[in-house]
């Protein structure tokens, strides 16, 4: 049911997602696969490239008015770096862009990430369909906020 409602919501303007690795991390195999998979799932995909700063990630997200920012880190710095992005968004009063995370993230770090608004936090080997579903769900929340102000 949820999927049906989402399909309607994104019928004439697809989910727009910004993929970013906002830390010092060159492991881009996963994010490149995600970029293609999201595009093949009908989304509009932006990839921020390697080593963008958290500030430039938020700037891009705002300018492009994305629905979701998908953050990936495999270097262990996710707690600090994802928080930086969340903090910058909060300080700009942005509440209609969702944050989703992924990478080498131990279970015990996930509650802290969810508390700052970063959900998902999928590790390597997670099926793409699970990630796509979650991103779509979060995107729907964000899009509804955008259009129903």
């Amino acid at each position: 049911m949820e999927n049906g409602k989402n399909r309607l919501l994104f019928k004439d303007k697809p989910v727009k997602v910004l993929l970013a690795k906002p830390g010092i991390d060159g492991h881009d195999r996963g994010i490149l696969v995600l970029a293609k998979a999201f595009r093949d799932a009908g989304m509009e995909v932006l990839y921020a490239g390697l080593l963008p700063t958290p500030e430039s990630v938020v700037e891009t997200a705002v300018n492009e008015d994305v629905d979701v920012v998908a953050l990936s880190l495999l270097n262990g710095a996710h707690l600090t770096v994802f928080r930086k992005v969340a903090d910058i968004m909060k300080s700009k009063g942005i509440d209609d862009i969702a944050l989703v995370g992924g990478g080498t993230i131990p279970d015990e770090d996930k509650p802290e990430l969810e508390a700052i608004g970063v959900t998902g936090n999928y590790g390597p080997g997670t099926p793409l369909s699970v990630i796509i579903d979650h991103v779509t769900t979060r995107a729907a929340e964000a899009r509804k906020k955008k259009i129903s102000r």
Partner: protein, 572 residues
């Protein structure tokens, strides 16, 4: 259509074609006589069997799958073309080095882990650095916040290197350092530490990875545009050839290319293509191939498709020896020997049911030993979650020790040699590699292919296809898309405390206050002058800067100001 000149690779491919056996009667007759009736009787339905290189596999291989002169083709260990091993007595004469990649937190944390591993029987050191260090940023750079010590040890100055190596006799143990963009600086630090410990430079042994080409392809840890990094590698090559003869100033790597998603054949081909590039570079800088080729070393992946890995390593040895002798005219035997370190594949580890990873690592380690590696790192079972805990890394080390001491596997050289399957697969992979060399040359060489994004595109394509096959269940990862468990029990993992960051920043602050800042300034200015002159060797200047306690970032910035930072082409 102009007739293009035949390349060396074209001639090798023709040679391979001409040696193939024309018929394959044994197989086809067996197929119709025995196999097909059986399949019909048992209701067997055709399935596809392939490997990472998309090479289709028959049910069985026979002598007719080997070339006509197969005994010559296979050869003997320690004899050209070294398919069976580079030394005549391989592990009987010298066991592979058990070299566990280690590093996290502060230099003291890492020093402790290195000593722990030595105590438990590792025979060589291997140091992992954190992200800021790998990219040439100091601990006090705001971008390093949250990254310090998280995936390796943090090094911002010579002081850190001194602490990492405290109490370790550099004349007795060789050290491998996985560092690329700032490899020259870290090499300079190691040299400076050796000097302080009064060890003559011709007695220290070790490796820096330094292979910048594969950074642009796969690991993506670069600072400057390619030409600048290549110049630094050249400087290291020339300096070390003269002053630090036992130093492997480059470890030409396929591990990362494979981890980025390539197939085994792509790993083989792109790594060796990088290797040929460095040989060309050495010759262009005025050295004779026999002067430096003996010091070129390699680093391969050992992944889970067992026989493919063994075949890959055997093919690598044969190709390297053949090309160095035939194309580059190397005369010294040592120039033809492909010496390599292997690491079991990180990508094959799963966060689900982590203890399964011990099995995977064991199989991959076996493949590396059967493939004739000179040095081996085995992954720990918890590495899909975090850096290895003490307990996990000990098991990984014990895995090697059990394979070495209990199984009898290393007792006979190249035991899979002569297997119809393995020899056929070795030949196939060699052939596919030559095809790639030909394509790359026609594209303008490996550097051009990298700048154009051709190599990265090949890898991303293979990676995406593999992911799709996983999603469709055509490939299996136990615990991930088969035999999944609903409630995974969490495991305890290594924690890096924030204290490491605080300590490193404070240490750096104190260093900057107590060092001779005038000497640092002068050293950096001299380095800048040297770097601006492409004919000058920058190594002595880097060493002097390092000895004055200039920081990693300060030294790297001299390069940034001259060469700029490189932005990659986006290849998806």
């Amino acid at each position: 259509m102009e007739k293009r000149e035949e390349t060396y690779w074209d001639s090798k491919l023709k040679e391979i074609q001409s040696k193939k056996s024309a018929e394959n009667k044994a197989y086809s007759e067996w197929k119709s006589r025995t196999l097909e009736p059986w399949n019909r009787k048992t209701g067997y339905s055709e399935k596809e069997y392939t490997n990472s290189s998309s090479i289709d596999l028959k049910e069985v291989y026979t002598v007719e799958d080997l070339p006509k002169d197969h005994s010559k083709q296979i050869g003997m260990p320690g004899e050209y073309p070294y398919t069976r091993g580079i030394y005549p007595n391989m592990y009987r004469g010298r066991q592979w080095t058990m070299r566990m990649f280690s590093g996290f937190g502060t230099p003291e944390d890492t020093n402790r882990r290195l000593k722990y591993l030595i105590e438990h029987g590792e025979s060589g050191l291997s140091i992992a650095f954190d992200m800021p260090t790998l990219y040439g940023f100091d601990a006090d750079n705001p971008r390093s916040d949250g990254e310090i010590g998280r995936c390796g040890v943090n090094v911002s100055s010579l002081q850190d290197m001194e602490e990492i190596l405290e109490g370790i006799d550099l004349s007795k143990v060789s050290t491998s350092m996985t560092i690329n963009a700032p490899a020259a600086v870290v090499t300079a630090m190691y040299i400076a530490v050796a000097k302080k410990k009064m060890i003559p430079l011709d007695r220290i042994a070790g490796t820096v990875q330094a292979d910048i080409l594969k950074e642009y392809i796969a690991q993506k840890e670069w600072i400057y545009p390619p030409e600048a990094h290549i110049r630094l590698i050249r400087d290291m090559m020339v300096y070390c050839t003269e002053n630090v003869p036992k130093w492997n100033y480059i470890s030409i790597s396929g591990y990362h290319i494979r981890e980025a998603g390539s197939s085994a054949v792509q790993e083989l081909a792109f790594t060796l293509a990088d290797g040929f590039y460095y040989v060309d570079m050495g010759i262009k800088s005025g050295l004779k191939v026999d002067d430096f080729a003996p010091r070129l070393s390699f680093f391969f992946n050992s992944s889970i498709n067992f026989f493919e890995e063994v075949a890959k390593m055997r093919a690598a040895r044969r190709i390297w020896a053949t090309v160095l002798r035939e194309k580059y005219g190397a005369k010294k035997e040592r120039s033809l020997l492909l010496r390599f370190h292997t690491q079991t594949s990180g990508y094959t580890l799963t966060w689900q049911q982590p203890l399964n990873n011990i099995v995977r690592t064991t199989v991959e380690a076996m493949a590396a030993i059967l493939g004739g590696t000179q040095s081996l790192h085995t992954n720990s079972y918890d590495e899909a979650w975090a850096l290895p805990s003490e307990e996990a890394v000990k098991i990984a080390l014990r895995t090697q020790q059990i394979l070495a001491d209990e199984t009898g596997i290393p007792d006979v050289i190249d035991p899979l040699g002569g297997s119809y399957y393995v020899e056929w697969l070795t030949d196939r992979m060699e052939e596919e590699a030559y095809r790639y060399f030909d394509t790359i040359e026609k594209l303008g060489g490996i550097l051009e292919s990298v700048k154009k994004g051709f190599i990265q595109k090949e890898i991303a394509g293979t990676s995406y296809r593999r992911q799709m096959r996983l999603e469709q269940g055509k490939e299996i990862m136990v615990g991930v898309n088969r035999y999944e468990e609903k409630d995974e029990k969490p495991i305890s993992t290594l924690k890096i405390s924030h204290k490491a960051q605080v300590d490193q920043i404070n240490k750096l602050k104190k260093l900057k206050e107590t060092r001779n800042n005038l000497a640092v300034k002068k050293a950096l200015q001299d380095l800048e002058k040297a770097l601006r002159n492409p004919d000058e060797n920058s190594m002595p200047y880097i060493i002097r800067a390092v000895e004055a306690y200039a920081t990693l970032e300060e030294i790297s910035n001299v390069g940034r100001n001259i060469f700029g930072e490189w932005k990659e082409p986006v290849i998806v």
